[in-house]
Symmetry: C2
Subunit: 225 residues, 2 copies
């Protein structure tokens, strides 16, 4: 691993349903693909953590991840992954056209696919019993499928979105992980195989293990404390 002064900000404690999908996973994975060592800094209530109020000075929306590399502080998982990809061929080819297409699929992941997927996950995970869900969920599911079908067709004869693994696959496969509480990805064999292919990468496995290791044991009362 290349030594660095990089810090990745993450959460100390989230409910089990969110463990393994919080977006600092993207930054950790990108750093692992580049072979760059980093340290995590946690936002929470335990010893050595930043309080949420302190963290607002780094990230105005209070979201994780943020990223610090010496003088440079950055937030937005897409921007951090892109920042690393700009400087590391492990995440993006040096070819001008391939770079443009990597960015195309990065934005497709975060602006075309994720908003729909996130809306469905929010319904299922946070409002399962709300009165409006029964009437609304079918339309949201349909919007998800309208995006996933063309994506599955694109991946039917490809291992990755471009002709090799890039930062776009890193983002797209983490977006697909948000559907893990459903069988929607599995309904599309090309998507399922693609997600498994991405998740089998050693860099992904290390990043996931590191995120999970940083969480304190889950105590539901922690949310109220």
């Amino acid at each position: 691993m290349i030594p660095s002064n990089i810090t990745c900000y993450a959460l100390e404690n989230v409910p089990p349903v969110a463990r393994g999908v919080v977006r600092d996973l993207r930054v950790r994975w990108a750093l692992e693909e580049c072979g760059i060592a980093y340290q995590s800094r946690l936002v929470g209530t335990g010893p050595g953590t930043l309080t949420p109020a302190e963290y607002l000075k780094i990230q105005p929306f209070g979201q994780v991840p943020s990223f610090q590399d010496g003088e440079l502080t950055l937030f937005e998982s897409g921007a951090i992954v892109l920042h690393l990809a700009e400087e590391h061929e492990a995440l993006m080819s040096t070819d001008r056209s391939a770079r443009a297409h990597t960015k195309q699929w990065m934005f497709a992941a975060l602006n075309t696919i994720e908003p729909q997927v996130q809306q469905l996950a929010e319904i299922d995970l946070f409002h399962p019993d709300a009165g409006w869900v029964k009437e609304r969920r079918p339309g949201v599911l349909e919007a998800v499928q309208r995006r996933l079908k063309p994506l599955a067709a694109h991946l039917a004869d490809r291992d990755y979105l471009l002709d090799r693994f890039t930062a776009a696959d890193l983002l797209m496969s983490t977006v697909l992980r948000t559907l893990r509480h459903t069988a929607i990805v599995e309904e599309h064999p090309a998507l399922h195989a693609y997600k498994q292919r991405c998740e089998a990468r050693p860099a992904f496995e290390r990043a996931l293990a590191a995120q999970l290791a940083d969480f304190v044991p889950w105590q539901p009362r922690d949310l109220k404390g």
Copy 2:
């Protein structure tokens, strides 16, 4: 204007409620800021247009805009604007740290702010009379405000997201335009002033005029035809 072979794909016909906010506006605006001439190619049913089925070969999700520059075809408005920004200082400084922060705010616009704003606009414009809306809309509005308040605070003492106009302002202000059917932006004086500041740019005005000029006169029956 610098001559070019650039084509921007746009729609021939959308309902009045969408005119002036379709996302090819972003690409047209970016090209105008760079002083690059372009032609539009329309997707629709009229003479000289691409049919939606033909357009799927260019854009697998069927969305506009797409962008063609000689051999390079790109989709995703964020990726196209970024592609232009990479090569034109009119949209992004050459300083490494400023470039990273421009990208940070580009992703904030499209991945933190737009999904919430879009969800509210979808409710108001496409499902105003649905049974689930009364119960669901307050939560969606609250999520919008939770994002807009920190954004307004950031812009309280700044003209732009960074210390000059960049591609991030181009994206963020077009995201805010999606709320034009409400008074939500106007409730935040800093956001309202910011949006007006961006929209007063001559390049924006030319881009908006060009988008509007490309639409055929609206006939509700066209949607069924």
